[in-house]
Symmetry: C2
């Protein structure tokens, strides 16, 4: 962090929240502990009068009620979601936005109906190129008033695992997670999973809404058009061991064998390796991976650390099956996106 956090950033940090790191021990995050990033206000939606409009370049526009969606084939998937701005504060000079450290993540069991059959039922027009998802939430960002909207290419939108989700961990979506409906796009950063969904529109041109064309791009400078942010880069987290200090969150631990517990994920494939360093990144040793990993959720791992007296900096880093890892320092960009440098925790052993 380069400078003190501003009032504007603090206001965002007070509204939104991350996963308490000790909760990374849970494979499925309890609802109130899942990270939360709300661009505007949480809308109040009457489920009875709410409708999902499926339109644009389709042969048969659809208007669906929540009951219509619930009557369709249902699928439940555990999915890890991470904010694209996770790690922003640790990437100086800092982009002014939601001031995440490392904890903007969570894993829930999302239940919904697959999107592809709905688009097929509506009948895609020949010129269909992208699918735009429109939320009910509306506000001003970057000086532009707009509904929260994001698009996917047709190929991405038609993937089997893309869901229109109406339940989280077996309960109706909480208001803050998009009640009554959100899209779930497993493997992608959080901005993609549009909450409070009201419309799905098939279009023939690349979508240029503010959240697509201005935000969530990796600009190396003000003039750089940059590449869009898409899938989650590999990242791993561990529950800091020992007892916490209330104020600085440092940890105190008795010397001896200590079992570290963590989780790792990537939007580019399964996690194949997790390593731990107890000496500030000078040397690394392999963690033990859980036998199984759900296709779109994080993988558990453990590491037995022989904690010796003194002050230590623990770190962890993950590698996915596509060969992506976690760099010591992530490449800087104006929005502070995709900072997947390793988590660090200071531990005093006595």
């Amino acid at each position: 962090m380069d400078d003190g956090i501003t009032l504007e950033e603090l206001q965002l940090a007070a509204r939104n929240h991350g996963l308490p790191l000790e909760s990374v021990r849970e494979a499925i995050t309890p609802v109130g502990l899942h990270y939360l990033l709300i661009h505007f206000d949480i809308p109040v939606v009457d489920a009875g009068s709410w409708r999902l409009q499926v339109g644009g370049l389709v042969d048969r526009p659809l208007e669906l009620t929540l009951d219509d969606l619930r009557a369709r084939p249902a699928r439940t998937l555990p999915v890890t979601l991470e904010c694209a701005g996770n790690g922003r504060v640790l990437m100086p000079p800092r982009a002014l936005s939601q001031p995440w450290l490392t904890e903007a993540v969570g894993t829930a069991e999302w239940t919904g109906t697959p999107l592809a059959p709905i688009l097929e039922e509506a009948g895609l027009g020949d010129d269909a190129l992208e699918v735009v998802f429109t939320g009910i939430d509306r506000g001003i960002q970057g000086g532009v008033e707009h509904d929260y909207e994001r698009s996917l290419t047709l190929d991405d939108a038609l993937r089997d695992e893309v869901l229109l989700a109406y339940a989280m961990n077996g309960e109706p979506l909480p208001v803050q997670h998009g009640f009554p409906l959100r899209v779930i796009v497993p493997g992608w950063y959080g901005m993609t999973h549009v909450k409070w969904l009201r419309a799905i529109t098939v279009v023939s041109e690349p979508f240029t809404g503010w959240q697509q064309a201005e935000a969530y791009r990796l600009h190396r400078s003000e003039d750089d058009p940059g590449e869009p942010v898409t899938r989650m880069l590999p990242r791993s987290l561990f529950a800091p061991p020992g007892l916490p200090d209330f104020f600085d969150r440092s940890r105190s631990l008795a010397a001896g064998r200590c079992l570290l517990e963590g989780r790792a994920w990537s939007g580019f494939g399964p996690i194949v390796r997790v390593e731990v360093s107890a000496d500030g990144g000078a040397t690394w040793a392999d963690a033990e991976l859980a036998d199984e990993q759900p296709e779109f959720a994080w993988r558990g791992w453990t590491f037995t650390w022989d904690a010796t007296p003194g002050e230590h900096e623990l770190q962890c880093r993950a590698t996915d099956a596509a060969g992506n890892g976690q760099p010591e320092t992530a490449e800087w960009n104006t929005g502070g996106y995709c900072n997947n440098a390793p988590q660090r925790a200071r531990i005093v052993v006595s």
Copy 2:
């Protein structure tokens, strides 16, 4: 706010979180939106092996299971809880702790069994003076390692409305709100409502644990022993009207009649008056109060504001039946407690 927020404060703001102000429209706060302040780590508790110990100066010490507690007479109360540090950042020079603005509040329906009959069953000794509540959570604060513990005088502990709560909004306590059991002391600031309760101990001397003797006191200077923080001072909040700006949370509103919605509460009695100012506190007008107020929860209010073009600062302030109000500036103290100065929101009307 006098200076930029530090990394240590930001770490706390990322873990803990406030009520998004638009959610003040809800009489009962959804679980994940209720404010949350966790001193140490969220403990993992196995409900099957968990026991509540009732001991100290009692004739018949008790060991109660969760089923034992659920089998006792149950009572459900809507209760407003507010962190004693709410408003801390707005009280310069700022105490370094959880950096709350104005949103550290929430109202839930707590279900549990009254404490007094349990103490009577255990049989209070003649020298009984206070009741100490001990949580499972343990850590270091102010350089002192301790379990989270707070006490009440016998008179306060024996009040009818003090509950041992095992449910919140009709569901088992979420882990972050104290699963499997917490104490609910209606009317008091949040530090009193000990979470993850494991022991209730009757003692004959004033309790001097860190969270009682060092924290949660109104020290005017380092040497001032100060008075303890107890019941919630009156406070009111409103949902800022219009559309939000993502980053600075300022609001844009079309000119005309605008219905402001808010809530007000006090630990010293019912709310009897709420006033609104649209000119930065120069003039005030009465809001309309909801007909009823639950005994221990906030009271709804509305105010029809004739919004004229220009920039306005909205404020609100409440008065309780005991005559306590909200001062323009609350009295400073080293811990940043009890800052119940009015909420302010900047609105641009066009």
